[in-house]
Symmetry: C2
Subunit: 252 residues, 2 copies
Amino acid sequence: MTTSCIIRHFEHYAELAGDDHDLLTSLEKSPQDYPRNTVIWNQGQQSEHFFTVQSGWACSYRNMEDGSRQVLDLYVPGDIIGLREFAFRRRVSNLMVVTDARLCPFPKYHLSEVFQSSRLLCNLFFLIAARDQAVLVERLINLGRRTAREKVAHFLLEMGHRLDKACMDVYDCNHLPLTQVLLADALGLSTVHLNRTLQELKQERLVSLGPDGTTLLDRDGLVEVAGFDPEYLQEDVDGMLKSLGKNVSPMV
Amino acid sequence: MTTSCIIRHFEHYAELAGDDHDLLTSLEKSPQDYPRNTVIWNQGQQSEHFFTVQSGWACSYRNMEDGSRQVLDLYVPGDIIGLREFAFRRRVSNLMVVTDARLCPFPKYHLSEVFQSSRLLCNLFFLIAARDQAVLVERLINLGRRTAREKVAHFLLEMGHRLDKACMDVYDCNHLPLTQVLLADALGLSTVHLNRTLQELKQERLVSLGPDGTTLLDRDGLVEVAGFDPEYLQEDVDGMLKSLGKNVSPMV
DNA sequence: CGCTTCATTGAACCCACTCAAAGGCCGTGG
DNA sequence: CCACGGCCTTTGAGTGGGTTCAATGAAGCG
């Protein structure tokens, strides 16, 4: 039995005291395994749990009236799924796992308890929510103002960076086990055009395409193509922690 | 002197006890006035304050290398600006006011103090952050999977709904004082095509165009065009509050 | 009263989409 | 073990929604 995944996620940011450690652990129900392509929840269903990803990949998406699909976000090991549903009674998007995966559910409304009990955890949760927003913003820019080439390169790099952080042992941080259909739906492209764009990048030796997904071969080259700046993925945990120490002083 | 804008914003969600009231008020520095088109901060600058909007409109945006611009979000009275920068030392986007506006700055790191002092406020801030994410998600879908017509109609309706909530006295909730340049940059369209699309909607008596912005004439008609579902703007405050009452019981 | 920004219209172009079809891979069942 | 069907990938050809370029008018402002 390894460390629970949410603990690992938070320890990535800061050292946890014993109390905080126990508090987090108590939230986490036993992990559950899901085979590839399992739908975890659908839009409109009651929203009662968050999940953390212990292994495998998941994605949230929305089905459109015309039959198309928009993939909203991808989740890799260590990620927390569903924070944005905190504000809502019902799910605002669908969730499925795209590889065999192990997820850890924990009850949504216990988050309030955590907020009350631990100042550090409260701030860390807020920081994670803020980072999630920054990721969404960057994806927004991707969809609004970049060409297909740039979109693809940028997205691949973002996932690469996120894998770097999540990476423990088993994962190849340059390999994304995603179908082209999924990528296309994430980037707002047709599968046909996504494929052509990937072929192009493959010709330039920037990526390789296998039956099990896409692999980043030349990150620097991709950065060039995408105009990628990873700053939006680098949280300022230190600054936040420092302020936690400061703000016991009287307010100005 | 009216009630401070952040108080008003939070009281929209829940009744505030005296303590919470004072706590919020103490955070808020004196309001500052900015003339139309003033840039409040730029990407890369130190991130030290949030703002609340007391009057007027603001927008956050990112300038692209090729000279184009992506507008990320618009802010109307009552909104909180900059929560997503909580995680970062430096600004990840630019902010400007698009009309004459009065904003209330409050120091970013005092948020941690609020979290510690008030359970209710902590949860409300988290709820607002989650709602902000939902808004971004919907804008993501807008950019990824809708036609120009749908994009425009959907965006206008979203802002209309947000105005409905903010609306006090002076504002016409169907009027958006935004240039077409701004709208185009928000929707990932060229100004030329945005203009043509607006003309089209005007022909159909769904909107009217004036020198001072766009006005929604027929919301039902626009809903038809956009396939608009306002659910993502309706937070479940009651559910959250109820859980605040519950979670003093031992954890399951 | 000129300068700048915004709105509007026309014309040509192009990036990405749609439609269509074929090939590869894999799981399943006969 | 092979045959079948489904899903994904790949490629070709034609189309179209939205872009770019360009120019004009209108409005606000110093």
